[in-house]
């Protein structure tokens, strides 16, 4: 099952990447990032079968960080929405140099 798990994980990761590249809605992009992280979790778990519980421990960390990141990221999106009334990426370009 290792090979299948890895293949599935890769596919899910790629789907997440494509989603980030294609969407302009900030929320959806965020959710694609979560998908990518989950795919990585699958990889870790798949490997933990053969390499001991360290893989699963790592998954714990990934999940924790992901949760923290989601919280802060959504707070940022709320703040942006308050100012600009939009979450379309093409309107959020104050960083232009």
């Amino acid at each position: 099952m290792l090979a299948e798990s890895l293949a599935l994980s890769a596919a899910l990761f790629i789907i997440g990447v494509v989603g980030v590249l294609v969407h302009r809605n900030a929320i959806i992009i965020f959710m694609c990032v979560e998908l990518m992280l989950t795919a990585v979790n699958l990889t870790f778990v798949a490997f933990s079968r053969f390499y001991g519980a360290a893989g699963q421990v790592f998954v714990v960390f990934v999940m924790t960080v992901s949760a923290a990141e989601a919280a802060v990221g959504l707070a940022i999106i709320i703040a942006i929405f308050r100012h600009r009334q939009t979450i379309d990426l093409k309107d959020i370009n104050l960083l232009r140099g």
Partner: protein, 183 residues
């Protein structure tokens, strides 16, 4: 190295794998955030099943509780709070050209990952085939994770807790808005 799996097992593994993949595809192709979020939840559930099938029961439960239950719920809260699901608020995806390009990039990345994945894994890291069963018998599923977490990776654990603290503080500050902001 892998034990022989019964057909029952394999069938269900593939089944939930396909469901996960299909849900992910559906998620990516939605324009509106709410259906997208729900599809993503579906993906999370399927993956949780896969985790359990891969002898990571605790992780599977955590996936449901934390990812699907907390993180996605927060997403939906924000969407509904800001009324982002309304048709007037929807942001389009990029044009066809962009989509094609993204597809190509994705395929290229997939190809590269598959090439890299063919490398040989170092033998000395591999544990005995029944290692996990032994551990499971010694401790239960939770103990299997807890023991390394609080022993070998204690520092990372502590740092993660600090990270969570910072995240909480950041989220509160950012989410408070102008009226009550620190001046």
């Amino acid at each position: 190295m892998e034990p022989h799996y019964p057909l029952f097992y394999v069938f269900h593994f593939y089944l939930f794998g396909v469901i996960a993949l299909a849900s992910a595809l559906a998620f990516v192709t939605r324009k509106s955030p709410v259906p997208a979020a729900l599809w993503l939840v579906n993906t999370m559930f399927s993956l949780a099943v896969l985790f359990v099938m891969l002898d990571a029961e605790f992780i599977g439960v955590m996936q449901v509780l934390v990812y699907a239950g907390a993180i996605m719920v927060v997403f939906l809260f924000v969407v509904m709070l800001l009324n982002l699901g309304a048709p007037s608020e929807l942001a389009d995806m990029r044009g066809t050209g962009w989509k094609l390009a993204a597809g190509l990039v994705g395929l290229a990345l997939l190809a590269e990952i598959m090439v890299i994945a063919r490398t040989k894994l170092p033998e000395q890291l591999v544990v005995a085939p029944n290692f996990n069963e032994q551990q499971m018998q010694k401790l239960n599923a939770v103990g299997m994770i807890a023991e390394p977490l609080f022993r070998d990776y204690l520092l990372a654990f502590e740092l993660t807790s600090v990270l969570l603290l910072v995240a909480i503080a950041g989220a509160v500050v950012l989410g408070r808005g102008r009226a009550a902001g620190a001046r």
